[in-house]
């Protein structure tokens, strides 16, 4: 009796906790509302299954508890019942998988009008690179990293001149413009994670991974590292500041003097040759 009651309490308690607990996801600030929707669908389906299974179990424990003279029913299997349950489960699984795959297709298909930016991780800070007026990022290589070229940008690439490098600072983004972030790491694995954007992706040394999103709300959001990267892992924080287009342009103008060309004087001589 007590056991059945506790089982019921667990099922009901879990649902109540889900509904009233103050701990829930942060208000979304990107276009990935679909992800939230898929999570909601999954919550509904899995929640229903959880409650059904536990309540049925509680019923069995109460109804078929040992009493004098009770004998269990002998029934090795019931094919029909088992097949039904299998099919229903299959349908439930498909109902979660289908929207999931559909949204994943969107998640990995970068829109054509997305602006390239670079997010660069090293132990334990974030750096960023914005393309500047030409709208394009120069190529880069970890082997080129040096004190005056912290991101290892290829100086021979003419596109490097106007790239804006922001070291250990804040990433500014214009609102409602899709962004394709190219992710690079100098040393170990990191993971670019902004809870409000929902999206996250690893930065892998030796390769360039990517992620895309459209900020949909202005404000300041925290960048966290979500892949263990050594003892400084929790301290690896950054900020992303989503601004109105005009504010963003104004900020970019301010930053123009810190473009790669100005930042590293010898870069000038480097590019003078190919031109």
């Amino acid at each position: 009796m007590a056991v059945a009651l506790i089982l019921v309490l667990i099922a009901v308690g879990s649902v109540v906790f889900h509904l009233v607990s103050p701990w829930w996801w942060t208000p979304i600030a990107s276009n990935w509302r679909y992800i939230d929707n898929t999570i909601i669908i999954t919550f509904w389906i899995t929640g229903a299954v959880f409650v059904a299974v536990i309540l049925f179990m509680a019923y069995c424990v109460y109804r078929f508890r040992h009493q004098a003279g009770r004998q269990a029913h002998y029934e090795p299997e019931n094919k029909r019942l088992e097949w039904w349950l299998t099919i229903v489960t299959g349908v439930g699984v498909a109902a979660m998988l289908a929207p999931g795959l559909f949204v994943w297709q969107q998640f990995i298909t970068v829109p054509d009008d997305a602006t390239d930016i670079e997010i660069f991780g090293q132990q334990w800070q974030w750096s960023f690179r914005l393309p500047g007026p030409d709208g394009q990022l120069a190529t880069s290589d970890t082997r080129l990293i040096s004190p005056d070229n912290p991101l290892g940008i290829n100086r021979d690439d003419p596109k490097s001149q106007d790239d804006v490098v922001i070291e250990g600072g804040e990433l500014h983004l214009p609102v409602n413009r899709p962004v394709k972030a190219l992710l690079r790491s100098a040393d170990v694995l990191h993971d670019f994670y902004v809870p409000e954007f929902r999206a996250k992706m690893d930065l892998v040394p030796g390769q360039v991974s990517f992620i895309w999103f459209t900020p949909t709300r202005t404000g300041t959001f925290e960048i966290l590292c979500a892949e263990l990267c050594g003892v400084g892992h929790p301290q690896m924080r950054g900020k992303v500041i989503v601004q109105e287009e005009s504010d963003y342009q104004a900020w970019l103008q301010d930053k123009a003097p810190t473009s790669f060309a100005r930042l590293t004087p010898d870069a000038m001589s480097g590019t003078a040759v190919p031109d």
Partner: protein
């Protein structure tokens, strides 16, 4: 109905009487230390694994103290914290759960349940344990090595695992960890060959595959999977050891560490992740399948009812075992691998939910119309279903590629895998110990202490890990030594963390009651007799309890029926042991199949 020629499955003749003489140990050392008796080896495995479990428990306390009360305990700095996290994870997954289920329960139960006198290669079996012991020794030694144990996280992802920004990365920690794992795998392979070949070759006359208890099926399938999956970890460990010690570049790309370029080129960190998870995901099922098998038998015995849908249960076990080899990259959705893999791995991962769900249905359908005795093992089995269903369902979040994106690497993942492969299998281990302790020692464990242990452990563990999901949903990443101040984290989340820590301390302390019970009942427990649970399977039918070396006295048993003849209509008692010939059961109720 298919007519099966029984015995084509491989049966052995009862050994001659002279052979039985072989099973007399000659000295104290060969009986208790370098014993070749699978049952003694099982107890050795279980004792060492449970001891490692206690160390891992203490480590989890230290982690929780830091998370619940950050900054209060100054000796838990970031270095120490990551070392605790890593050692706790690796110890629990490999050295406790795998060793306990396969080395402990496998050794004890396989020969007894299939009606063999011992494992087929007893000497190799003994070596297996001592090599495991050596692996544990190396692992624990890393606590005392310069720089301490590795703090790379149990996933040991390079380049981080072997660089100086990680505790033990450029010191002894990571080397000892890798060597210990390799030694463990060698030892396990010896044991695993035994478990598999014993099931294949040493079954008693009449014990066809489909008459085996699900416990044997679970351990057999898991052993086979482990034999094929552990090499992946071995390969990864060899390559990482080369990278760390000989300067090769298997996993090390060109990189600049703290401003210093390292002399490496062209390694692929993702390659390690593929190898690791090619082992790591089957590993989840290597722990889960024995638990599935054992819990099936616990439920069936204590509900006095045959396991519902036995055939489906066997097929589901095999299907899960096979599928688990093609889902590994669902741990890598946000790893930067080719994003198109996501479609394939999300699909296979969610398909695996179907056979798993079938197993859950059949467990609760076994309860239905049963005669449920709420003994301590049964309570643990019920608790297993609750936690396993909970953890399994959150697995559907993480397996569904796009849902995984926001949740991956957050506390949600931590809560999920602790629920599904921490709490759930451990509840089964407890249930199984309460269930088989009478066979091992001849005495029952104390019931009152058992119930106290059960309620605190079950409700406590649920209270620890259920709310933890919501911290992850909020966005708190895992493996943070200190959450610090994040704008989106309300103060109530810190209160929740403190609450979780306090519950964890209580649950941990209650395990001492269990340990006490284990030792106290050895002397003072109620005499159990040979078959206290009135169970059908062969291990309860031994002529002596505890069974001596050789198990069966003069004659090995002959098997006449499957393992689940409970409450057969027309029988004079509510169970028919597998080795009991006739009476022919009433044909009514023989299934709708």
């Amino acid at each position: 109905m298919v007519d099966v020629p029984l015995g084509s499955a491989g049966v052995v003749t009862a050994p001659d009487v002279e052979d039985v003489e072989l099973y007399h140990p000659h000295s104290w050392v060969t009986k208790y230390v370098f014993s070749q008796d699978a049952k003694v080896i099982a107890i050795q495995y279980a004792f060492v694994a449970l001891s490692v479990g206690l160390i891992a428990l203490v480590l989890s306390w230290l982690m929780r103290l830091q998370l619940g009360f950050p900054g209060v305990f100054s000796f838990i700095d970031a270095n120490a914290y990551y070392q605790f996290v890593t050692m706790h994870g690796m110890m629990m997954v490999v050295y406790v759960l795998t060793a306990l289920f396969l080395g402990g329960f496998g050794n004890y139960l396989i020969p007894l349940m299939v009606g063999a006198r011992d494992m087929v290669f007893p000497y190799v079996n003994m070596l297996s344990f001592w090599i495991y012991f050596l692996a544990v020794f190396i692992l624990v030694a890393s606590f005392f090595a310069p720089g301490g144990p590795t703090g790379a996280g149990w996933t040991l992802y390079p380049p981080q695992a072997i660089t100086s920004g990680t505790p033990g990365g450029q010191e002894w920690g990571i080397i000892l960890m890798l060597v210990s794992l390799m030694v463990f795998i060698i030892g396990f392979t010896m044991g695993g060959l035994n478990y598999v070949v014993t099931v294949l070759q040493a079954r008693a006359r009449g014990m066809t595959l489909m008459r085996m208890p699900l416990t044997v099926w679970g351990i057999f399938t898991a052993s086979f999977m482990a034999l094929l999956a552990f090499p992946a970890l071995f390969v990864g460990a060899v390559m990482m050891l080369f990278d760390r010690m000989l300067g090769t570049s298997f996993f090390m790309p060109a990189m600049v560490e703290m401003g210093q370029p390292l002399d490496r080129n062209g390694g692929s960190p993702l390659l390690f992740q593929h190898l690791f998870w090619f082992f790591g995901h089957p590993e989840v099922y290597i722990v889960a399948l024995p638990a599935f098998g054992i819990v099936s038998d616990l439920i069936s015995t204590h509900a006095r009812r045959n396991i519902f849908g036995y055939r489906m249960m066997v097929w589901a076990l095999l299907a899960i075992g096979a599928l688990s080899f093609v889902v590994w990259a669902h741990h890598m959705y946000v790893s930067g691998m080719n994003p198109y893999f996501g479609f394939f791995f999300a699909t296979t991962t969610l398909i695996i939910a179907i056979p798993t769900a079938i197993k859950v249905y059949n467990w609760i359908l076994t309860l239905w119309r049963g005669d449920i005795h709420l003994t301590v093992p049964m309570l643990f089995a019920l608790a297993f279903i609750v936690t396993f269903v909970n953890g399994g369902l959150t697995g559907l979040f993480l397996g569904n590629v796009v849902v995984d994106v926001p949740l991956s690497d957050t506390m949600f993942v931590v809560a999920h895998f602790h629920m599904v492969m921490g709490v759930a299998p451990i509840l089964v281990i407890f249930g199984a110990i309460y269930h088989w302790y009478p066979k091992v020692t001849g005495r029952m464990l104390n019931d009152g202490l058992g119930k106290l242990h059960f309620w605190v452990t079950f409700l406590g563990a649920y209270a620890i890990f259920f709310p933890m999901h919501y911290l992850g949903l909020m966005g708190i990443p895992r493996r943070y030594h200190d959450i610090g101040d994040m704008a989106f984290v309300p103060p109530s989340a810190h209160t929740l963390n403190a609450f979780i820590t306090i519950v964890a301390l209580i649950v941990g302390a209650t395990q001492l009651a269990f340990v006490f019970n284990l030792f106290w009942s050895l002397r003072h427990g109620r005499e159990a007799g040979g078959n206290p649970w009135r169970a059908t399977t062969l291990e309860w039918q031994t002529p002596e309890t505890p069974p001596p070396h050789g198990n069966w006295g003069r004659d090995v048993p002959v098997v006449y029926r499957w393992a689940y003849d409970y409450s057969v209509p027309g029988a004079d008692q509510d169970f028919l042991p597998q080795n009991q010939p006739g009476p022919t059961r009433a044909t009514t109720g023989a299934g709708h199949g």
